[in-house]
Subunit: 404 residues, 2 copies
């Protein structure tokens, strides 16, 4: 918080361009002696690493495995421990909902209930198109409860999200409401109980919503009930413009990542297609922004699947496209990940994430290629991810001197 | 504190085993170009270091030389600045006293007093067996004062410890009582003055104790008075089980180290013999615990003596025994020290302590041997010792993801 205020006071504007490329889940650990990044064919990244400032960053703290929210917040320069993001908000962002400050976001499941007991917590994982129709019916039949507007968003299979849009601003602890999923079948659903005085209004609306939904859906065989989890409000963050004086564009094909960028005030047009398409989008909009966040999802997806070869192949693929970014000659180019996803572990991990920062104002020539091991020899060392934005601003000459 | 709470919320249990070997005072500085660790013959440690995550840790902060208490607390994952341990408690632990939450622990000296002035602050360093008899006499003649039970423990020469065991819980500042040793001979002893309202009761008992002891010992030629120092209470720490979900066994032949482990709730059976005996003890109890703290004292002892060759020899000796630990195939094996004790300095020092962490989830191949200089090339970098426990938990897959 102190550092964020300090940086805000030092920010100055100029015409420089900063490009942040996030290869989601980039970091790995060795399988047969090599990490995914070491196994990938990366002549362009390697040559860039030799001339860049390199290092590894730690998203939250040593040993702590970050989710996508904390990982991206840290990259965007917000302390991920201070700025925690609720599950409901993340779900809503992933379903492209436009979350407002007066919204409570909740992730929901359809479930099957009989005689007051849950017999299937996932309503038989009903097909997505069937679930979508039910969700649309709820939207039509329950547009509001007690002056609180409801916005439903269908998800995959039995999942959906709902926003409770209140007419007035909410207290910070208004979302302190218990989950209703008992996590076990054969049990009664739990009550959405408020954990604070300020959460009573939200809990009351949730209770009425659950009851009304059950009345609407009582003749459904499977999806005749809903379970609500992760009640949360949008975190009150300073925007990228306020914090860093940057007009920022997010380029991400997966909605959740654009959603995270939107939380900090980046422009987040819908982008679809391949990584090449994302780079085209970057080139087309290059004149209009100061800062570009370009997100490459597939590296992480294959890591999560435990598919070492495909994760490495996605890195090689990016390497081939890299010259089209270099062509733009950004003042600062950063290439990194939001966390590690070693294929060996089939999950996010706590391992520090390799990073390179290209600018005319670096030492360079400390690393012979772009890899976890080589980055350990780099001039940026091992540092907390939240320090990356100040480094980007500094190299873009966007930070004044501190003190006289 | 924030991080400790965060980690507590992420802890999950599984059947993994973590072994932490502490070669007390491991780190050194070069004599004739080599540190003790570099001079030692360590083929097993070197080969392990090549496959492990290595680095150096800083027990308290840069330039701060830790005592054994802060050194071990940091290794156990407790911030040594937040969790300070009193001298009286440390002395009591070293004498194998079982300190309770309602105890005030005090380190004491026998002294010689004449006409109200101290003529010998150490009572002529009376022999230990003579001192022991006097202490036993005090225990027999002064079992309690004002409902406060007294537990005396004889030490070496003129030293002993006493516990004032109160019948009721104590305030956190109940031990804020001044030392009575004036630190100069020819002076009158000081009064055990309370520094806070809550310490008045303890000060009153101490005053009566000093007077009563003088009455009992008034005919002793040398040990006819006592000086009291380091009034302290047991720190109120979450146990290892509470903080990390680990059932932990301490294997240490020197009582103080077992005592430190006991403060955080580890099991601390009496263990005696050589390092080989300690490792046998580890092997025998391996099935029954999640976490093992194995303490090797002699490395530090020779460092304190300034005996470079013997300190190195103790490290070589451990290296020979190491395969008997590796045999167990622990999920996470950490080998390090609690602080540095360079033979050149004949004392503890502030130098960062080399560490290796063996697990399937590391990069490795960054260090060619186990030494201070090679560890500086390692993937763990230079980090605060208190981060070691989260790293151990992460590599044992005992920490859930933070945030979604």
């Amino acid at each position: 918080m102190i550092m964020q205020k300090l940086i805000k006071n030092l920010v100055q504007k100029n015409s420089s361009k900063i490009v942040l490329v996030v290869l989601d889940g980039l970091g790995g650990v060795p399988v047969d002696g090599k990490t995914e990044l070491e196994a990938a064919v990366t002549p362009n990244l390697d040559s860039l690493a030799r001339e860049s400032a390199c290092g590894l960053h730690i998203p939250v703290d040593m040993g702590i495995t970050p989710g996508s929210g904390p990982g991206h917040f840290a990259l965007f320069g917000y302390d991920p421990v201070e700025c925690q993001i609720g599950r409901g908000i993340l779900e809503a962002l992933g379903l492209r909902l436009d979350v407002k400050n007066t919204d409570i976001a909740v992730r929901c499941n359809y479930a099957t209930i009989r005689d007051g007991l849950i017999v299937d917590r996932r309503a038989g994982r009903i097909p997505t198109d069937q679930s979508r129709k039910i969700t649309e019916r709820l939207q039509a039949e329950i547009p509001a409860i007690d002056n609180v507007e409801l916005i439903f968003a269908p998800g995959m299979e039995h999942r959906f999200a709902v926003l409770l849009r209140f007419p007035e601003p909410l207290d910070p602890d208004a979302a302190a409401v218990d989950d209703t999923d008992p996590q076990l079948e054969g049990k009664a659903p739990l009550s959405p109980a408020p954990r604070s005085k300020n959460a009573e209004r939200v809990a009351g609306v949730a209770k009425k919503l659950i009851k009304t939904v059950h009345e609407v859906l009582k003749n459904e065989k499977q999806a005749n009930y809903i379970l609500m989890r992760g009640f949360s409000v949008k975190p009150g963050l300073p925007t990228f413009q306020e914090a860093f004086g940057l007009k920022a564009l997010a380029i991400a094909t997966y909605p959740m990542y654009g959603g995270l960028a939107k939380l900090v005030g980046m422009d987040t047009p819908v982008v679809s297609g391949s990584v090449a398409d994302e780079i085209d989008f970057l080139r087309k909009n290059y004149a209009d922004y100061d800062f570009f966040f370009l997100h490459v999802k597939k590296v992480d997806s294959y890591g999560e699947d435990g598919n070492f070869a495909e994760k490495a192949a996605r890195i090689s693929e990016f390497d081939e496209l890299l010259p089209r970014i270099l062509d733009l000659k950004p003042d600062v180019l950063i290439i990194t990940g939001d966390h590690s996803t070693p294929a060996l572990m089939k999950s996010h991990s706590w391992h520090p994430v390799p990073v390179l920062l290209k600018s005319p104002y670096v030492l360079g020539r400390l690393c012979s290629s772009f890899s976890e091991r080589e980055c350990h020899k780099g001039e940026l060392g091992l540092f907390r991810t939240v320090k990356l934005m100040p480094l980007a601003l500094a190299h873009a000459k966007r930070l004044k001197k501190f003190g006289a």
